[in-house]
Amino acid sequence: MLRLKLIACKALYREFCLLTAACNNFVDVTYLKQGLHDTPKLLNQALQHEIDKIDSGDDIYSYYPRFGRDFYAILLGYGLCSNGIIGLRSKKYQLVTPKTDDCIGLLLGSSRRYKDYFAQHPGTYWYTPSWIENAYTPSEEMKNRLLKEYTEKYGEDNAKYLVETELMLKNYKRAAFVAWDELPFIEHEQYAKRAAEYFGWEYDRIKGETGMLEDFIGGRWDERFLVIPPGKMIEADYEGNIIRTAQ
């Protein structure tokens, strides 16, 4: 049994809860709020801050190494996420992170599968249980809430304009709901479906795969994952691997 520290985004909250509970390894989890990828610098700072605290052994969210038991690695439950993980390093532990652009690849079970779907269907808005619960996802109800919030802040005229542009309704064509058999949420599926109908988009229900995340916390780190030795840094890779260890 490995003792692992996982720092993950709440965009994967339910999925990681399910898998870490059943995992053979001891997985100590800290979740950061969803949406930090919109400000990649802040995401980067928040992650480095967590890593530094774990390194020094005084993170209030993490197991404190005692009795000769320490973490084997720190796992980052993130994709590249707008370059938010570039430059991260741990002084003490190896870092492990999946080679994927964002969390959708993780939920689909492979980065390749995500890229193939993306190439075939540009303009897809992704819906997942954790996204619907933690983030803004377009729907009639959310649109009206946003309109109200913006009207108070910026006036009616600007609010209407913002909702049209910010939702980017003119460019999106499809809602894709990633469904895991292990986490059936009919309510969320229906939410995504209703949104698609409201905006006049196509709707697609895609069966997700738990395998990549299971292997991630299970310690089966093959070429789908990057293992960075202590003291080394994550950097972007433009040759198809998404990320690599900086030399």
């Binding site: 919109d38 990649p40 540009p122 600007n158 980017m168």
Partner: protein
């Protein structure tokens, strides 16, 4: 407060109608269109751009400021065109294949036009071949590509390659930008210039057109 400072302030607040009114008034009072553009509209946009970079304001504030800038430009454009005999250069602009996010691209367009550069806006999801075909047909100085996603920015490599294959190296400059794009990435794909934001993109573009 001078009228130009007032224009800049209203623009930063996204008050398009006030900007429009004051731009007309500033012209009536004898300010030159170029001065209103530089010290009113563009100065306001650069304040907003700087604040955005520092996470002091977010996308909505930038969007309504840009909208106010457009409102002011509607008044200024005819005056600018009649006083400047010709555009300072020509740019073919678009988001790369697969990427439908055009907020950044539209900001760049506004800033380019503010500098007197003609923009051929190809919109979103533009194939490498279309960038290059248009640049040749329009005899453009620059191809400018934008991407929001790490999944799509790699398409910029294909634009650079297409431009090279068609013999545009050294003739047409390829500029790239967008949230995930970095100088490192620019160097790795052999693009000519990377711009971290719309304001510096327009400065760089102007230099290229005038060189």
């Amino acid at each position: 407060m001078s009228i130009l400072t007032e224009i800049s302030t209203f623009l930063q607040q996204g008050r398009a109608n006030n900007v429009k009114e004051l731009v007309s008034k500033a012209l009536e009072e004898g300010n030159s269109a170029q001065q209103i553009l530089d010290e009113g509209l563009l100065s306001g946009m650069s304040v907003i751009g700087e604040k955005f970079k520092n996470n002091e304001v977010y996308v909505p504030e930038v969007l309504i400021a840009a909208r106010a800038m457009n409102a002011g430009m509607e008044i200024l454009k005819p005056v600018l065109i009649s006083s400047n005999s010709k555009a300072k250069g020509k740019v073919v602009l678009g988001t790369v294949k697969g990427d439908l996010h055009d907020i950044g691209k539209n900001l760049v367009k506004i800033m380019f036009e503010g500098k007197g550069i003609e923009v051929i806006d190809l919109g979103v999801d533009v194939a490498p071949q279309v960038f290059v075909d248009t640049a040749i047909k329009e005899n453009a100085n620059i191809i400018a590509c934008s991407a929001l996603l790490t999944t799509t920015m790699t398409m910029m490599k294909d634009v650079v390659k297409e431009a090279e294959d068609r013999g545009l190296k050294g003739k047409v400059t390829v500029m790239i930008g967008g949230a995930p794009v970095t100088q490192n990435f620019c160097d790795s794909i052999g693009a000519d210039y990377y711009a971290p934001d719309a304001a510096s993109a327009s400065d760089t573009a102007l230099q290229i057109c005038q060189s």
